[in-house]
């Protein structure tokens, strides 16, 4: 009798993942936009790596917000103060204008209501620093056209039905959201091939991620 044969998987062509900028790149880009000595909150601070640098090398007064208990313990071990919070519930424990900068790195697309979080960031801080993946990248577009597959990112290579990436946006989309929220884009810095590029041509086609610096109008 024939043993049940594993159904032969059709080899799917290698899937394109938007490369997330390495942690070091993001940290460097973010740090370059934070004035020394300022008060900074990092939303989704993980183990407090960025905040530790900002505190030790920029003399910043820092606070982390994180949901995961293990990551919080990591932040505590770095001596970084951290508040356990679920960003989807806003930042109800933080008073208005209590920070100079609110940082949100590679997390916005995972939140249920990105616009609420951006609003909250600009409520508690003078400036919001947001790093988002750009799903407008040409390879994402090409993949959608040629293979008919939805985009994923390299550090979050999840399937569409099981991904923390709830939202897919491009630079155009983000600008539109900023306008809708009546906040000013002070700076738009595309990250292309792991490098922050100040004035990039066709950024919406080429950037893997983008750093936005936002202010209230």
């Amino acid at each position: 009798m024939k043993k049940s044969v594993e159904p032969k998987r059709k080899r799917t062509p290698a899937r394109y993942c938007i490369p997330d900028p390495s942690v070091a790149v993001t940290d460097t880009v973010i740090r370059a936009h934070i004035e020394p000595g300022s008060r900074v909150i990092d939303l989704g601070c993980a183990d407090g790596r960025l905040l530790e640098l900002l505190r030790d090398e920029h003399g910043c007064d820092v606070l982390g917000a994180e949901l995961d208990e293990e990551l919080i313990v990591g932040a505590i071990a770095r001596g970084v103060p951290v508040i356990q919070s679920d960003l989807d519930h806003g930042l109800p424990d933080l008073p208005d204008g209590s920070f100079d900068f609110a940082v949100l790195s590679q997390t916005l697309q995972q939140l249920r209501r990105p616009q609420d979080v951006l609003r909250e960031m600009l409520r508690v801080a003078r400036r919001a620093l947001v790093v988002v993946p750009n799903f407008g990248h040409w390879r994402v577009r090409l993949q959608l056209v040629t293979q008919g597959r939805a985009p994923v990112t390299s550090t979050l290579p999840y399937e569409w039905y099981d991904t923390p990436n709830l939202h897919v946006m491009s630079m155009h989309d983000f600008r539109e959201l900023a306008e809708k929220l009546r906040c000013r884009i002070v700076r738009e810095l595309p990250i292309i091939k792991g490098r922050a590029v100040d004035r990039a041509w066709a950024a919406n086609l080429r950037a893997e991620s983008v750093l936005y610096v936002l202010e209230r109008h």
Binding site: L63, E69, I76, A77, G79, P81, I83, Q84, P95, S98
Partner: protein, 418 residues
């Protein structure tokens, strides 16, 4: 609050070993304590224990504030065959949450208590008789004033940290407000900046149970035995508030105590295991606790309200540069997370260094005492204290060189040679 809900903690070789309760006499006349209720009290005897070694720089002391019915015996055993270690033995010891290889840990019985520190069952030196209800009304502030004096008495200028759960956490907060320069860190577990109306309500029932026991005799019951029914009843009720629906369900469910089936007997009071457990807790409590102390201390707790005492929580805590660690528990309905968050909000508003976590635990208010949960608490409190100590030592590496008045005092206190 030491419900002893968990199995007795077995010694795992990480014990502080044999310990002895010591005692200090503070506030000797004429330097008596003037209580918040404006009554003089002194001398005051304080029972305390210490674990670990005080560092040469005297910068590694941690004060443990016990909860409502705790005592100075927080860790170790009193004799080689003592089967019951101190109430926080799972958390205090070599390599534990409060690592006695690193820190000098102090725990003292609170003012108004009945386990060695002056309280209503102590002898009033003025009359040669027990205070009973002539003992002055005390507050959490008065309790902390005595702790603070004990720390000075031990030659320690500044604590690395004060830590406590429940009423212990209230003491830590009051400490940060009243003696802001004495703390390097404040660790507040399952606590709040005030006792909630619900908390006052439960205390009210407990008080009524004691006061309405004919054995109470206006507090002068020492010759004839305590108001055991009232005190046991107070404890039974309070004990329920320290647990959670889930933990009671898990440990007892609807299981019967002595039978396979229901008895259909109205006056059989301990049919269910949970009933038997509560009766047992009540009975044991009467053996170890004083009814007058219970009344004084629950009242001190009722009165606790940082915002009322200092104008606002923010103004109460804005004068300390202590780092705060605030921990709440998901199933704690006596001191719910919302109350810890209120505290955290105030600390953030006044820009203190604050870390907050809500731990998922089934054990209710008592979670901070449950040995099974201690490793996790240690994984949080341990690094928090280590970083606090690093920061303290970075700031003042050589106490005499700093030229800060405070540091100079430390040097003088430590009899440093200059």
């Amino acid at each position: 609050m030491a419900s002893e809900f968990a199995e007795p903690h077995c010694s795992d070789g990480r014990s502080v070993g044999l310990v002895e309760t010591q005692s200090a006499t503070l506030f000797e006349p004429p330097d008596v304590l003037v209580t918040e209720g404006r009554k003089p009290l002194g001398p005051i005897t304080v029972a305390y224990e210490t674990y670990g070694e005080l560092s040469p720089g005297r910068d590694n002391a941690i004060f443990v504030c016990h909860a409502l019915t705790g005592d100075a015996h927080a860790a170790g055993v009193r004799s080689a065959d003592d089967r019951k270690p101190g109430w926080w033995d799972a958390f205090i010891g070599p390599g534990k949450g409060l690592d006695t290889d690193r820190y000098f840990v102090i725990c003292a019985n609170i003012l108004g208590g009945c386990q060695g520190t002056t309280g209503p069952s102590s002898i009033d030196p003025a009359t040669g008789r027990r205070f009973c209800t002539t003992f002055p009304f005390i507050t959490v502030g008065d309790i902390v004033a005595v702790h603070s004096k004990l720390v000075e008495h031990l030659g320690i200028d500044r604590l690395l940290a004060a830590i406590g759960g429940s009423l212990g956490g209230m003491q830590v907060l009051e400490w940060a407000a009243r003696f802001p320069k004495q703390l390097g860190a404040a660790v507040v577990l399952a606590s709040a900046a005030k006792l909630s109306a619900q908390g006052i309500a439960f205390n009210a029932v407990g008080k009524r149970a004691i006061l309405s026991d004919p054995g109470f005799k206006n507090g002068e019951f020492y010759d004839d035995g305590p108001p055991r029914f009232g005190l046991a009843l107070a404890r039974m009720l309070a004990h329920i508030t320290y647990l959670s629906e889930a933990s009671i369900e898990r440990k007892f469910g609807r299981r019967l105590q002595n039978s396979e089936r229901l008895a259909y007997e109205l006056l059989q009071e301990t049919e269910f295991q949970i009933e038997s457990y509560l009766h047992h807790q009540g009975k044991r409590f009467v053996e170890r606790f004083d009814a007058n102390s219970y009344l004084y201390l629950t009242r001190a707790m009722d009165y606790f309200n940082l915002a009322e005492s200092y104008g606002s929580i923010e103004s109460a805590l804005s004068r300390t540069d202590a780092r705060f660690l605030v921990v709440s528990y998901t199933t704690d309905w006596l001191f719910p997370t919302s109350q810890s968050k209120e505290l955290v909000r105030a600390l953030l508003a006044t820009r203190r260094d604050v870390t907050f976590l809500e731990l998922d635990s089934p054990y209710g208010h008592d979670s901070f005492l449950i040995p099974a949960d201690m490793d996790r608490l240690a994984s949080i409190v341990g690094p928090f204290l280590e970083r606090t100590q690093d920061a303290v030592r970075r700031r003042a590496p050589v106490p005499v060189a700093a030229g800060v008045p405070e540091a100079a005092e430390v040097a003088a206190g430590a009899a440093a040679v200059m």
